[in-house]
Amino acid sequence: MSTTVMWIVLAATCVLCFSLKLLGHLVPEPWLANPRLQRINALIPISLLSALVVAQGVVVKTHVVIDHRLAGLAVALAALFAKAPFPVVVVAAAATSALVYHLH
């Protein structure tokens, strides 16, 4: 991705995300309070974050690839089950992944 495109991604993300925040404050009638829209909206972060775990954890371009990152993710999952705080989860995942990466 070229530098120009990355600036465009940055600018568009900033403008859109701020507009969404402002929209909520400006809409006088709760027309976004439709129950179906609310239900779907509550699920969207879960679907997107799940997809991002996959895209960043086991995908290279358009291929599913099992490598050192999955070892890190497995440790992160175990840490979350053990109710570890966020910093511990991320550092444990990074350390495991780095270790497996260097052993290979």
Binding site: C17, K21, I46, L48, T62, V64, A76, V90
Partner: protein, 209 residues
């Protein structure tokens, strides 16, 4: 204070993820200053890192940002602000500020307003300081894989996802979404499966449970 430390760590993780995705330190800081909504920022740099198109990156960020509009609808009648203060209020309308404000409901509207402004401003300051530190740190480290940074990013997403999985239904949504994302990955251009996975949310949220 514990909120501040948690926000700080997310900020470091974002700064690092952003630099690992190829953004400069300045761009990473601008993301946090001007977008200021963690999950959307993570999504935008996440799609870029996975080789996705610019449109996919922006769309993922906007989809994750829609919930802030719903927060604004809840907060506007409580805050009752106009002009510049309304713009500022909109900018700090995020998970944490809205969550704290709503939790203060039993203590009255003044406590709710205080909770909103203090939390929103505090998170803003910490989020931006730690984004800068994370971005500088990642730049100093170099090769992301060598330091496990490439696994830290999906682990951070997992850490963002985890506290949201409060019911069995939501856990099912997460598992179905991950499975769906894996299955469609070979068939779509990079980055697009992330957006496409929202059909799982639409499908499972369509009917009342």
């Amino acid at each position: 204070m514990s909120v501040a430390i948690t926000v700080g760590t997310y900020g470091v993780a974002f700064g690092a993820a952003s630099v690992a995705a190829g953004f400069t330190v300045l761009q990473s800081c601008l993301f946090s200053l001007l977008t200021f909504t963690g999950a959307s920022q993570f999504a935008a740099v996440g799609v870029v890192a996975s080789g996705g198109a610019a449109a996919s990156a922006v769309a993922a960020a906007a989809l994750l940002g829609t919930r802030n509009a719903l927060y604004g609808i809840q907060m506007a009648p409580i805050l009752k602000v106009k002009g510049v203060r309304r713009v500022l209020a909109a900018h700090i309308t995020i998970d944490e500020s809205t969550g704290v404000a709503l939790s203060q409901a039993p203590r009255g509207v003044t406590a709710m307003r205080a909770g909103f402004w203090i939390t929103g401003t505090g998170v803003f300051v910490f989020w931006n300081i730690f984004t800068l530190l994370g971005a500088l740190g990642a730049k100093a480290l170099g090769n992301p894989a060598s330091w496990g940074l490439d696994a830290a990013v999906p682990a951070a997403f997992l850490g963002l996802l985890w506290p949201r999985l409060t019911t069995n239904f939501l856990r099912v949504v997460a598992v179905v979404s991950m499975t769906f994302a894996i299955l469609i990955t070979p068939w779509l251009p990079a980055g697009l499966p992330i957006i496409a996975t929202t059909v799982v949310a639409v499908g499972l949220g369509w009917r009342a449970r």
